[in-house]
Each structure stands twice: as structure tokens, then as C-alpha cells.
Symmetry: C2
């Protein structure tokens, strides 16, 4: 099955204790699509400026990531500049929306018929516009962030009410629900509409929460985190890509998707940008999956 | 097999968002022994003042916790007063060592022959004195805290070098090893001597680290944490109690001990003091173990 990915596409400056990069390929749609490439074909929906290097288009297309709805308009590509001091929390130094300010996702007919949809962390108004164009999607998912929870809650709640899966980090889940206990908070979020809440907890892993089950995925024991940027997006990419490759929404599929998401994200944080994601193959993923499974097997 | 538990015995004042208690039974040796009671017989080594209520002795003895080496001397029992604002971090309001300042653990002959030893978080000098009296122990374990890492590191390293298992929380592991990456830090701690490092991560669960394996135990999804005091000690009590009940140090035994420790701690945090620990039976523990196992089963 095919996966449609909507989100930001950026040229980022990132500095971590392990180095720095300038104008490197980033953005939620990039990390998610590059993370899903080993599982399924995908299409990205986004916008870039005419400064966006041609080699990035080539990278996407080489990985069977369709760019028909990746619009290029005159101007500069979205730019984020950030710094990690302790690898757990990014400090934003600069954000330049640039052409992203004019983003108005319009899907081509092919993309409207994708079976799986991932709405990356963008303005809920835009997420809603995409949802409206996707009547036939089998499974829909969204991510969000504190900025929209505080600034666009009404629209965000509409999005959450419509999707099957909410990806959210633990601080934002507490902010969204105003509940401190993380399991009570997940329950409250579930009552907002989605069938499944996927709570991301950074270096502590993640858990999936539904009416039927709760499933904890530990983090993959990475020894050297080079750059955490895109960890959540690459987790979602591995998760959604695997889901789309299987084509059902059963408990065991979801649990395996959690492990595939975890493993995919573990590769992503070992390099800047998508440097590692672009090179890994399904065998690399399966090898780490085996290690991770052993670490939770009684 | 029998378990010897050395640690503090206290009359605590604790305040959390769910209430407060005054002069309630606490201390590392109490939480550990009451947590191990469903798995094995134990003996506590500690000291209290003549204000220590007789009913607490009765509670311990009723649960087959031997108090021969629980010394009573004139004076007041160790007192800790603390407050939790967000249930994750205690704010110490007052500490009165009282008779605990004169603690000099001397074991009776029976206790010297215990097979399993847990050294709760006390001055490493005292931990060393107990270790010297326990030549025949099969498995020894210790806990510690930031106070000793900064203030008594040389002696603490001697203790760590001698024990089989180090229980430590993640912040303290980073402090002890001066390594930020938690898996690298666990590796460094292992090189200090123990066969096994058990890293406690509060609401995120724990992991066990050895040369042969790594095992992640998620936290039990408690919906209402009433008082986190003693969570780490009751985890260690469930862990060590189960280990002593099985009598080997195999990988599968250790992994199950992680789950038993987690489940036992989950009961402890649902009440003040040992109010819940004292009432639970092995069937309650097994029921939660089943739930927890399901939440990590693919």
C-alpha cells in the first residue's frame, strides 16, 4: 500500500556536541519519508524554494519517494537553526518560514487515493485541508507540537478527532490533556477520537495505547547519539511504512510497527540529516529489530 | 534461600498531592524487606530509637522478617521529612539522623550465613563492614545515592567492586561514571566490578545490563501514584526476593526478577508507607506480572 506524507521540508543548521551542519536536508516530511522507504512507496506533500538543491529531489526519487506534490516556488526554503547541548532538548536559534508561509497542500489525483496518510507537525488548518482531500484513506495519522496545542487548539482537536493514530511526545500529551499521569493522559487523548495513541518518550522509548492493549517499546541502545533531529519523524516513518506494507491494523502489526519505528529512529540519530537513513537497507533494520526484541524477551 | 537486608529504618513525614502522613514507617530496609516478603524469608539489619512503635516490630515479624539484628538504643529513630510536588522528585525538608548516627552493623551468626545480601543506601563504610562479615554470601547487591558518590567515592568504589549487582538510578549512574550516554555509563559501571547493573529510571522503568544481555522492563502503568517514597527499595526487594527464591543467577531468572521488582514497586507507590505492600499476596503480584508481560510481548 502507499503512504502519503505531509510536512515540512527544510534546510537546517544543526549543532550538537558531535559537530555541526549547515543548510542540510531536514524537515518532518523528509525524515518520515526517508524512514519509510524500506517498507513502502511514499509521496511527499510539501513546499520548497528555488534554492532547494536538485540533488535532494534526486535522493527522494531514487528512493521511490514521489515528489509530484512537492511544490517549488520562487523564494527560500524553510530554515530551522538549532543547537543541542545535552542531546535531549533542542534549543531553537532561528526559524525562517520563508516559502513555507504560503504552503497550501493540494493533492494530485494519485495522492488523493493513497491508503495511508501521515500528517507531520504543521498547522492544524493545513492538516484539516489534507484530510478533506483524502476520503478513501484506510489509516490516517498525525503528529503535532506545543506551538499548535497552545495556539491552535480548536483546529488541532478537529484533526485529532478525525485521525486513527495520534503520535505525540509525552510533554505535549500532558499539555494537550492537562493530565499529569501519562497513562491517564493517554486515555484522555484516546477519548478525543483516535483509535491509537503513540506516546514518544525520547531516550526512554515509547508506548502505544489503545482500548485493547498497551505496548512498551524500549529505546534501541544507541551508544553515540550524533543528532536527535528527526527522531520522532523517523520513528513515525518506520511505523507508518511498516503498517502500510502489512495492510492491516491488528494488535501484532501495531506492536511490530512500534519496534520498526524504534529501530529506524535509532539509525537516524546516529548521523546528521538523513546521512544514515539514506544508506540503510531492510537487512540492517531487521538485524537491530532482532537485538531489540531480545532485550524485551523474558 | 535467605535474604539479608541492611539499611535505614525511619519514621517519615511525607507530603504528596494525594495527602500527607506523619511519623510513618519508612527507610530503605523497611521498603526492601516488606517488598521481598512474598518471595523469601529475610532479616533486617538496622537501628532504631526507643520511640520506635512496637507495632512495627510486630508487622515485620508477622511477615517472617527477622529482627534479631534490628538494634534498639535510647534516643530517637531516624527521621526524614519530604514533599513531592510533581511525584517525580522529592524535596527534602528535614533529615534527623538521631540514633542512625551510631549505626554500626554487627551481624549475629545466623545472619552472617544468609545467602543473599542487599546493602541499602547507607554510608559505604558501613556497607563494607557488612560485606566483611558475609564471606559466604552467594549473591551480594548494593544501592547508593548522590550523597555518597560525591562525598565518599573511594569507599563506594570499594563496595561496588565487591558486589555482584549494583542498583542505581540513572542520574546517579551518570554522576558515578561521568558519562552521559546511559548505555556507555552502564558499561563503565560494570567495569567497576559488578556482574550486573540495574538502572532505575523512575516512571520510565528500568533496565538490566550485563556482559551477556540487556533487558528493559517498562514501568507498570499505575494510574494513581500516591507516594513514590521507597519505589527503588521496593523494586530491589521484589528483585532480590525473587532471586533468593529461585537460587540461581541465570539470564531468565534475572529478567523475571526485573519484572517482579517492577510489579512490587507498583504496589508500593499506590499508598503511603508500606500500607499497600503489607496487604498484597503473591497472587496480586502474579496478576500484575501477567499484565506487564503482555505489554512487552510482541
Amino acid at each position: 500500500m502507499s503512504l502519503l506524507i505531509v510536512g515540512s521540508i527544510a534546510l537546517d543548521n544543526v549543532e550538537t556536541p558531535h559537530g555541526k551542519v549547515v543548510h542540510s536536508l531536514g524537515g518532518s516530511a523528509i525524515f518520515t519519508s526517508m524512514a519509510s522507504k524500506n517498507f513502502c512507496k511514499s509521496s511527499v506533500v510539501g513546499i520548497v524554494g528555488d534554492d532547494f538543491p536538485k540533488k535532494h529531489f534526486e535522493l527522494l526519487n531514487k528512493n521511490e519517494i514521489n515528489t509530484k506534490d512537492l511544490k517549488v516556488i520562487p523564494g527560500k526554503t524553510f530554515h530551522w537553526s538549532g543547537k543541542y547541548n545535552d542531546l535531549n532538548k533542542a534549543e531553537t536559534l532561528d526559524t525562517q518560514l520563508n516559502v513555507f508561509a504560503d504552503f497550501d497542500p493540494q493533492l494530485c489525483e494519485d495522492n488523493k487515493n493513497c491508503d495511508y496518510l501521515f500528517l507531520g507537525n504543521i498547522d492544524p488548518v493545513l492538516q484539516l485541508r489534507v484530510l478533506k482531500q483524502m476520503d478513501n484513506a484506510k489509516i490516517t495519522a498525525c503528529d503535532t507540537m506545543n506551538f499548535w496545542i497552545t495556539g491552535a487548539k480548536a483546529n488541532l482537536l478537529k484533526v485529532i478527532n478525525k485521525v486513527d493514530i495520534l503520535f505525540i511526545n509525552e510533554d505535549e500529551l500532558r499539555m494537550l490533556t492537562e493530565i499529569q499521569n501519562i497513562f491517564e493522559a493517554a486515555q484522555k487523548a484516546k477519548e478525543m477520537g483516535p483509535k491509537l495513541i503513540v506516546v514518544k518518550r525520547g531516550e526512554y522509548g515509547s508506548f502505544a495505547y489503545s482500548d485493547e492493549f498497551i505496548f512498551f517499546a524500549p529505546v534501541y541502545p544507541v551508544r553515540k547519539v550524533v543528532d536527535p533531529t528527526g527522531a520522532g519523524d523517523s520513528f513515525a516513518g518506520g511505523f507508518m511504512g511498516y503498517l502500510a506494507s502489512v495492510g492491516n491494523f491488528e494488535e501484532s502489526t501495531i506492536k511490530n510497527a512500534m519496534i520498526f519505528g524504534t529501530v529506524t529512529a535509532s539509525f537516524n540519530v546516529e548521523s546528521f540529516s538523513v546521512d544514515k537513513l539514506k544508506d540503510i537497507k531492510i537487512d540492517d533494520i531487521l538485524a537491530r529489530k532482532k537485538v531489540l526484541e531480545k532485550s524485551i524477551l523474558l
